[in-house]
């Protein structure tokens, strides 16, 4: 079997006395889409934030592309170029234009040539249908547009792995579709992704595997289709029944 | 030659300096008590939707904000006796000016805190039949008071620091007495200024630092609760 892109072993995380994540074990295969499901407060966001070092954790081992990760600011700074992340709140830098938002990482972090980085940025903007907006400021865009640009900003670093933390949760319903379309295209291009979402229809369509989390425990890891038709645990069944889709 | 530090403790000097500090403290306390009461009243009035009242109170605030305190002191010190035939001693002039100034600044603090109480709180109060003053007394003020306290403490330190200006209208404050001591000892201790002003510097710091540390502590608490 090929080396998985990401492996998480026995990860434990607490804030003071509050234990947030218990013995998390997870494998993400290269080119696959993993959807993280669970009720709110189950620790999904915390887990995804642990995977690019925005949260530290008390114990456990991360392995990325076969390389064990020893957490330190320097290591994370390097790894974050390989692991893109998009947040729930569209978080573009308001002081920069769309293009400068996208180019900040490629030029300043990766020190790439401007012409080449710009060409790629424009190509990516075209793919999400926003090529005309490169000189706009974030405040001039709608939520859905900002979120698509946030995705482009992450992709511009040519990451191997993308983390999506409820990227459609703050959007108006009519904006959601455009953003999901971008994720769908990425999946077709075999981008490895870990997605936290409440869009169940979308999750069913896109997931190669579903990780079901409740109260900080992984209750099951099941292939996508199977999870929605026949989940292994009763808790997951209850969760699915409670969702409206 | 003796070091100038000795003049701090020669004769009555130290207690004279503390006596001067007490005059500054007294003026601060009186003007703060009057000014804060005035400010709460004016701050509440500034939330009333009466355009004329608003303009008058706004002009009052801006006048005391724009004119430097030194100038305010001189205005009252010179103009009250000359043009209005009101003869106050310098300490009373200082209390009056500081109280009016505190009132102006305080009215802005109070207004800011009051308008930050969410509108629906007012509506809920009106819905259970509270009248204007009741709404102010039972709904708005209790919720706004926490927000007002840090800024009010900072205003206190500003008043204490501003008492250093009393010297200019010849109040016998700590700095004025300090100058007298330096002058009296200029022959024997030419370095007196270093020690006397150094002591006054420290005295002011000791008065103001605990207050500003307290205000910051409260602000932090509020940030954490927000």
């Amino acid at each position: 079997m090929a080396t998985p892109l990401l492996q998480v072993e026995h990860l434990e995380k607490s804030y003071g006395d509050v234990h947030i994540l218990h013995d998390i074990n997870l494998t993400v295969a290269t080119g696959s889409v993993t959807v993280l499901l669970g009720p709110s407060g189950s620790g999904k966001s915390t887990l995804i934030r642990c995977l690019n070092g925005l949260e530290d954790f008390q114990s456990g081992q991360l392995t990325f592309s076969g390389e064990p990760v020893t957490p330190s600011p320097k290591v994370w700074q390097k790894l974050r170029q390989k692991i893109g992340m998009v947040f729930q709140s569209y978080d573009l830098f308001p002081n920069l234009t769309v293009l400068d938002n996208i180019l900040l990482g490629p030029l300043k972090v990766q020190h790439r040539a401007k012409a080449e980085a710009k060409e790629q940025a424009i190509k990516l903007l075209k793919e999400v249908g926003l090529a005309d907006y490169q000189d706009s400021y974030p405040r001039q865009l709608s939520g859905g547009q900002k979120q698509r640009i946030a995705i482009v900003r992450a992709l511009a670093l040519n990451p191997d792995f993308m983390l999506f933390d409820e990227v459609t949760a703050s959007l108006d319903p009519e904006m959601v579709r455009g953003v999901l379309e971008v994720l769908r295209n990425l999946a077709q291009q075999k981008m490895t992704m870990l997605v936290v979402t409440h869009e169940m229809n979308f999750a069913r369509e896109i997931a190669d595997q579903v990780v079901f989390l409740e109260e900080g425990h992984i209750l099951e890891v099941t292939p996508g289709k199977q999870f929605f038709e026949n989940p292994q645990t009763e808790r997951a069944q209850i969760f699915l029944n409670s969702m409206d889709f | 030659m003796h070091s100038g530090i000795s003049i701090l403790f020669a004769g009555q000097n130290f207690s004279r300096l503390l006596g001067g500090l007490w005059i500054s403290a007294k003026i601060s306390i009186v003007s703060l008590v009057i000014g804060i009461a005035l400010g709460i009243l004016l701050g509440a009035l500034r939330t009333v939707k009466n355009p004329i009242l608003r303009v008058i109170l706004r002009l009052y605030l801006e006048f005391f904000r724009i004119v430097p305190t030194v100038v305010l002191l001189f205005l009252f010190y010179y103009i009250l006796p000359k043009n209005f035939n009101v003869n106050l001693n310098a300490q009373a002039v200082a209390m009056l000016v500081f109280a009016l100034w505190v009132g102006a600044e305080m009215s802005d603090i109070v207004r800011g805190a009051l308008i930050s109480v969410p509108q629906h709180q007012c509506e809920a109060g009106i819905a259970i039949g509270l009248n204007g003053p009741q709404l102010f007394r039972y709904v708005l003020l209790p919720q706004a008071i926490g927000l007002m306290i840090p800024a009010t403490i900072n205003l206190m330190t500003r008043v204490i620091k501003t008492t250093s200006l009393l010297l200019l209208i010849s109040v016998m404050d700590v700095i004025n007495i300090g100058q007298q001591i330096i002058e009296a000892n200029r022959q024997t201790h030419p370095d007196g200024a270093f020690w006397v002003y150094g002591l006054i510097f420290i005295l002011y710091f000791l008065l103001c630092y605990p207050l500003s540390a307290w205000a910051r502590h409260l602000e932090r608490q509020q940030d954490n609760n927000a």
Binding site: S89, G105, K108 | P68, T69, V71, K161, T162, S164, F194
Partner: protein, 219 residues
């Protein structure tokens, strides 16, 4: 009040007016630079220097400018540091203003949303790059109203320069009163002169605050 007296005093006051502006300008520029340095040390948690700047901030904010000036002008010569009244005045204003500017600037930096910092980290920016491209540009914009408020505060504080006999506006008015007993006229011109400087600034400040409340950037 006599108009002729006022007219005759205009040239003297005009000179004082420009001196007040000049002293304020140097003091404010110096204070902003000092404030930037202090907030920089604090933001990057530079060891030792950061503690020194914290002590400086407390001393500067918790003592009156008048006594700071006395100390600089009368006490410093006794330990071998001599300077002109003008230099002492500007130094005092910088010493006082630096801490106020530092608070204003640091307050702006703290106001930058956490998610902005996180998304900067997420694209691999280093701490320095994060400061350079995200935190400082946004934070400085957020601190503009507070900086403007400090500008007004510092200009008003120049009135205290009169105690070390710098011929700025307040000193000039007191001189006129002392020399010619033109009390009403001198105080009138004095208030007008401060109003000419400070009312426009105060209007700008109100506008800046309103803009800041609405969110200069939007998101």
């Amino acid at each position: 009040m006599s108009w002729i007296v006022i007219q005759q005093s205009v040239p003297v006051f005009a000179q004082a007016f420009w001196l007040t502006l000049k002293l304020s300008f140097y003091g404010i520029i110096g204070a902003i630079i000092l404030g930037l340095i202090a907030s920089f040390l604090r933001y990057f948690k530079v060891p030792v220097l950061r503690q020194i700047s914290a002590v400086y901030t407390e001393v500067s904010r918790n003592t009156p400018l008048l006594i700071q000036l006395f100390f600089i002008y009368y006490a410093f010569p006794e330990i071998g540091i001599k300077m002109s009244a003008t230099a002492a005045g500007i130094s005092g204003l910088i010493f006082l203003g630096g801490s106020y500017m530092a608070e204003a600037i640091f307050g702006g930096l703290k106001g930058v949303a956490k998610i902005q910092v996180e998304s900067g980290l997420a694209i691999g920016l280093s701490r320095w790059q994060l400061a350079r491209y995200v935190v400082f540009p946004q934070g400085l914009t957020l601190s503009v109203p507070a900086i403007a408020a400090n500008v007004i505060f510092l200009i008003k504080e120049t009135s205290i320069f009169t105690v070390i006999a710098i011929p700025e506006l307040t000193n000039t008015a007191l001189d006129q009163i002392g020399l010619y007993y033109h009390t009403d006229e001198s105080l009138f011109v004095l208030v007008i002169a401060y109003a000419i400087i400070l009312i426009p600034l105060s209007l700008i400040l109100t506008w800046l605050e309103r803009r800041a409340r609405r969110g200069a950037f939007g998101n």
